[in-house]
């Protein structure tokens, strides 16, 4: 099977060569970095804004409402208008707040999510850095955000914020475990930590299908744990609107609040991307063994669209969670992790290791 038609590797590598030939290696790398940085920045802003829009539309439809429909057709520019509003809003200085930490917290949160995006393979060749420990890197970086949340809660000089931040800390420390373990299950199956290898390994079938039941369980566990890790849905204890008014970002206004807000949606995007890369074959098209014609048609859909579609689906599922379920209490949240997800996960890893050892996977 060949699907080189949409292979972007040749394009990116020729561009790289062009720069390398004409410039010193230092400048070539510098220009590449700037270009990639700008591209990611733009991508980040657009995706973040439109995820907010998507969330508002999705929840509106689930609630028998229309959702934003005033700014532009179907309210398409609503979030851009919101962003402009947030940019122009006053940044309220908080009395007795720790100025340095208070100002630095939103940046930590948003930088953490920025860094994670760099390692995500969007399509063949459309990949900023292909680490050999890619998945490990994403896990490490994406969990940095909690430091920002803790700092925000601590420095706001507000008891609600503090409670929210502490909840968030406890939550992420525990759920990081489940996220890691469920990904390790797939790493066992693929035998690699490198994201490009993992995606390539799913050429003949996504890991969700080839890995039998253990992969399915790992996927479900990952979905739950990832929702928890992004402070969303039924696990939004750090914000817990009805209890803590707004939790850790109670005292933030204007663009600083927007940073938290954007980072939340980008984190959702990142975990959805990880889920797609690890379980649903990344940018690989959907193939059914034996159906050549069907597979060929699938190949004509560009890999980026495959990737985006799958990510959108996962994000939609996470939104579905959020708009259906009530929030858990902090002790129940920890019970769910330590009494249910973690044991299931550990057993699951052993089963997966056994399956791989015996060669029972496809």
């Amino acid at each position: 099977m060949e699907f080189n038609i949409y292979d972007l590797t040749s394009f990116t590598s020729s561009f790289d060569q062009l720069l390398m030939e004409n410039l010193s290696p230092f400048w070539a790398v510098a220009i590449e970095m700037i270009l990639i940085g700008v591209a990611i920045l733009a991508f980040y802003a657009v995706v973040g804004l439109y995820l907010v829009y998507a969330e508002r539309k999705v929840c509106a439809f689930m609630q028998c409402r229309v959702g934003p429909n005033r700014v532009g057709p179907y309210g398409f520019f609503q979030t851009i208008a919101d962003l402009i509003k947030l940019l122009m809003k006053e940044l309220i200085p908080i009395k007795n707040a720790d100025k340095l930490l208070f100002n630095i917290a939103p940046y930590i949160v948003i930088i953490a999510s920025f860094m994670a995006i760099a390692a995500i393979p969007f399509a063949k060749g459309l990949h900023a850095i292909d680490f050999n420990i890619g998945i490990f890197y994403i896990m490490a970086v994406s969990s940095l955000g909690v430091i920002g949340i803790l700092i925000a809660g601590w420095s706001s000089n507000n008891k609600y914020s503090l409670i929210g931040a502490m909840r968030s800390g406890a939550q992420i420390v525990s759920y990081e475990l489940s996220v890691g373990l469920s990904l390790i299950t797939i790493v066992i199956l693929s035998g690699s930590l490198q994201l490009s290898t993992i995606v390539e390994g799913q050429r003949d079938g996504w890991f969700l299908f080839t890995g039998h039941i253990p992969a399915l369980i790992a996927f479900l566990v990952f979905l739950v744990a990832a929702t928890a890790e992004t402070n969303r849905g039924p696990f939004d204890l750090a914000e817990a609107e009805s209890e803590l008014t707004a939790g850790f970002h109670t005292e933030y206004s204007g663009i600083k609040f927007a940073f938290f807000f954007l980072a939340e949606y980008m984190n959702m995007f990142i975990v959805a991307s990880i889920a797609v890369t690890m379980f649903l074959g990344g940018w690989m098209p959907f193939h059914v063994g034996g159906w050549e014609a069907f597979n060929n048609i699938m190949d004509y859909i560009p890999p980026f669209f495959w990737y985006a579609g799958k990510t959108a689906f996962i994000i939609w599922v996470m939104m579905w969670f959020k708009w259906t379920f009530p929030r858990l209490r902090i002790d129940q949240l920890l019970t769910l992790e330590w009494k249910y997800l973690l044991p299931i996960n550990l057993v699951n890893i052993i089963i997966m290791a056994f399956v791989v050892l015996m060669g029972w996977h496809f």
Binding site: F61, Q63, C64, V66, W320, F321, T324, I344
Partner: protein
């Protein structure tokens, strides 16, 4: 062993119940026909209020610019909030009798609680409830309305 079975049962039961809830929201997501939102300013043309809707107190006038208010002051007395003020004057009518005539029926919309007592107690049915509900104004003083139209007179035959 039993505890493990119970443990698994618990998990599956919970997941099934969660899925039941998701089915409800999922159903509405895929059925945009169930949307109940009214597009308010756009549907102004078709939006009709119920006949009995209590939007404001009005004084109906007929085509000859006549109303039925005899300035008896019962509505003013019955209003619990003091939102009605009646200013009347004594005038000599054609028969040479002195009679109370309404000069201004002042209605403070901002103080009205729409309890319907003025309409209910009016002995000559001079007042009614109007269906207009868009009362927002930029100045509070605009909420003080004079209900009788300028130049209007008492309808013939109303006592």
């Amino acid at each position: 062993m039993r505890s493990i079975i119970n443990y698994l049962k618990e998990i599956f039961g919970a997941v099934a119940a969660l899925f039941k809830g998701m089915r409800v929201t999922g159903y509405y997501f895929f059925h945009p026909k169930e949307i109940v939102t009214q597009q308010y300013p756009e549907n102004r043309a078709t939006l009709t209020m119920f006949d009995r809707f209590k939007g404001e107190v009005i004084m109906p006038h007929n085509e000859n610019n006549e109303h039925k208010c005899t300035a008896c002051g019962i509505c003013e007395m019955n209003c619990p909030n003091g939102s009605i003020e009646i200013i009347s004057e004594m005038k000599v009518n054609e028969e040479g009798k002195k009679k109370k005539v309404l000069s201004k029926h002042i209605y403070h919309l901002g103080m009205c609680t729409f309890c319907n007592l003025c309409v209910k107690t009016c002995p000559s049915n001079a007042l009614a409830m109007g269906q207009d509900f868009e009362h927002a104004v930029f100045d509070r003083s605009k909420l003080n309305k004079v209900l009788n139209k300028p130049g209007s007179v008492l309808m013939k035959g109303t006592e």
